[in-house]
């Protein structure tokens, strides 16, 4: 079981604590993505797993062995860096072989390993080139080659795609996913890009301010965020969050905002809670645009239509607050430009406590 287990992991620089006791278990062969805004401690956490940062407190176990005080090289992990850190004075083959040479592997083994890795990553024709002569995608591949050649127990990725342009990023994302499926090595991947997180992860760990906000599969997090932060972080465009006050309703609670009423799902805590402040969360995808007032609709003012081809983003405002609706265009622009309201299925609406941001319970089915 070459899993990674973090128990109350703390990182402090002097008296300043930046990671506040993280608990996480990464199972064997699992692909876990740490995601969060910059400065949330995700990279620091990864670097503690790598052994590049000292662990201030807590226990880190890799493959059942406590490794807190074990040097990076003896942890049997490999890392892909954001800037790749390819040695510019060595060619591709020697970059890949560097770790093996340091470990004094036999010549034949090294030759064979380079060949294997080059085959896996499609680098056969570039082995004699220097990093400076490679494209961004090729460099990225070499960086991965350097990691996989040692057949480590764990792969660590530190924002490996952020130096690539959008198109290459999508391509390499798929390649990383394929590689993981093929090699099945436990992987921890750090990114600030929620799309990467959603597409790559078996499980996503959303971090904020040195703490874990939520851990779960991509769909779990998308459908049932435990709080407003997670809800706002995952999904593009992010979930609309409207400040509202409960204004009545016994069977179905009613929320009031900007002088309008909206029926909420019957969640615990909303019955007989007139005056309670909440945040109503509606994903842009789950709001159905309307061109005239209908039963249960909320009126909004259309400000801008962004057409993306098959889809369009309608930028509207409700009482001055922005609200985005994502809808299919079907080539019907006139109708889009006439939108002045929306309806939303209460079953797909999330409600959060306005004070704490915590989601009022009520699970959506995971598709």
């Amino acid at each position: 079981m070459s899993g990674v287990k973090l128990e109350s992991i703390v990182k402090a620089y002097g008296a300043v604590q930046v990671v506040h006791g993280i608990d996480l278990e990464v199972k064997e062969k699992e692909f876990v993505v740490l995601v969060g805004p910059s400065g949330c401690g995700k990279s620091t956490t990864l670097r503690m797993v790598a052994g590049l940062e000292e662990i201030s407190d807590g226990t880190l176990t890799i493959d059942g062995k406590v490794v807190n005080r074990i040097a990076p090289k003896d942890r049997d992990v490999a890392m892909v860096f954001q800037n790749y850190a390819l040695y510019p004075h060595l060619d591709v083959a020697e970059n890949i072989a560097f770790g093996l040479r340091i470990r004094k592997e036999s010549k034949e083994n090294i030759e064979k390993a380079i060949k294997d890795v080059a085959g896996i990553l499609g680098l056969e024709n570039y082995l004699e080139r220097r990093p400076a002569d490679l494209s961004g995608g090729q460099r990225q591949r070499v960086a991965m080659g350097r990691a996989i050649v040692r057949r480590p127990k764990v792969f660590l990725f530190d924002e490996p795609l952020s130096n690539l342009d959008a198109k290459l990023r999508t391509q390499m994302r798929a390649e990383i996913k394929r590689l993981h499926q093929r090699l099945g090595v436990t992987s921890i991947y750090v990114t600030h890009d929620q799309v990467e997180a959603m597409t790559l992860a078996d499980r996503i760990v959303v971090m904020n301010d040195g703490r874990i906000e939520q851990v779960g599969s991509p769909m779990e997090l998308f459908l049932n965020p435990v709080n407003a932060f997670v809800a706002g972080f995952l999904g593009a465009p992010p979930m609309n969050q409207i400040q509202a006050v409960i204004s009545g309703g016994d069977a179905a609670p009613i929320a009031e905002f900007a002088g309008q009423q909206f029926t909420l799902p019957p969640l615990p805590g909303l019955q007989n809670a007139v005056g309670r402040k909440v945040i109503v969360g509606i994903r842009p995808e789950y709001a159905t645009p309307q061109t005239k007032a209908v039963e249960g609709s909320v009126s909004c003012t259309l400000e801008l239509v962004e057409t993306l081809g098959s889809e369009a983003l309608l930028h509207t405002t409700i009482g001055g607050e922005p609200f985005v609706i994502r809808t299919e265009t079907l080539g019907n622009m006139d109708q889009l430009n006439a939108v002045n309201g929306f309806t939303a299925d209460p079953a797909l609406v999330k409600v959060f406590d306005a004070e704490t941001g915590v989601a009022l319970s009520g699970q959506l089915r995971v598709a």
Binding site: M79, A85, P88, H89
Partner: protein, 293 residues
């Protein structure tokens, strides 16, 4: 910059005047070297008479013959090579690991260690205490004393340190993950990356070793250990006062002037040979070490 044809008349005059001035300055820099070279190839008589202006007069190799037959010339030339090569290697042995260590963020007391270096650039105990210290260490009159006594220099150390600091730390981290220890990180990753900076520092060391004379003059009593520059000073300063030498010159085809000039030429030639390398690196080096962001 724009094409000359696009310039106004005044601009053209300005550019031409400027070029002439630079030309004059350049020639005035070059001329003394040409003058010395011509002198060294002229006959002693013409040189004494002050007839050499630009080109050699009564071209002769007598001055060189005299110099090349001097035992001390060869001894001191050989010594200079020993001091230059030995001193440069010694300097790099200290400077490269030292600068690398100073550049590492993880060492304790990093500010203190750096201050220890910087302070030596601000405050200098001076000639006498340094000399007495060398004597107390038993390093007077010794090859080793000259080689080790000037091995470290704050400017070079900081120049290298700044370069190492500029290398992204992910190179060190990647190498560590690959299993390298600190020495391997330095030798296999940072030194190849720092080649231009190391070359700059090595060239600075070579030039200052080749040219150094003051401390060699002070610390070395034994004639057989003096470097070329000290021998050169000896020749230039003392020959002109040396009645015996002057007396032998009456009919000789060389003179104090031509002999001095010949030694100067012999001593400059190695510098000229490595000058293209120096030029390639020193501009970068000056800017690398002088001002730190």
């Amino acid at each position: 910059m724009a094409n000359m044809k696009l310039y106004s008349r005044n601009d053209r005059i300005f550019v031409i005047v400027n070029m002439v001035l630079i030309g004059i300055f350049t020639i005035s820099t070059l001329y003394p070297f040409i003058y010395i070279a011509s002198l060294s190839f002229s006959s002693g008589f013409e040189a004494r008479a002050g007839n050499v202006i630009l080109t050699p007069i009564e071209t002769t190799l007598e001055a060189y013959k005299y110099i090349l037959s001097e035992r001390m010339f060869w001894v001191s030339y050989g010594n200079t090579f020993i001091y230059t090569i030995g001193g440069t290697i010694m300097s790099l042995l200290f400077l490269i690991p030292g600068a690398y260590a100073l550049s590492r963020p993880q060492i304790y007391g990093r500010r203190f260690w750096n201050l220890l270096v910087a302070f030596t650039m601000w405050f200098n105990a001076g000639l006498i205490p340094f000399f007495l210290n060398m004597r107390d260490l038993g390093l007077l009159d010794s090859y080793f004393g000259i080689i080790i006594g000037f091995a470290v220099n704050g400017f070079n150390l900081i120049l290298l340190r700044n370069f190492f600091e500029g290398v992204p730390s992910s190179f060190e981290e990647a190498a560590r993950m690959d299993g390298a220890n600190d020495f391997q990180v330095l030798v296999k990753v940072y030194m190849p990356l720092a080649k231009p900076a190391i070359a700059t520092v090595a060239l600075f060391c070579i030039v200052s070793r080749w040219n150094g004379f003051f401390w060699a003059m002070v610390l070395l009593q034994d004639e057989d250990k003096i470097p070329l520059q000290v021998f050169l000073r000896h020749t230039i300063v003392t020959l002109s006062d040396d009645q015996q030498f002057t007396a032998t010159l009456v009919n000789a085809s060389y003179s104090v002037e031509t002999v001095s000039a010949a030694i100067i030429v012999c001593s400059i030639v190695p510098v000229l040979i490595i000058y293209p390398f120096i030029q390639k690196y020193f501009e970068k080096g000056i800017l690398l070490g002088g001002v730190k962001e």
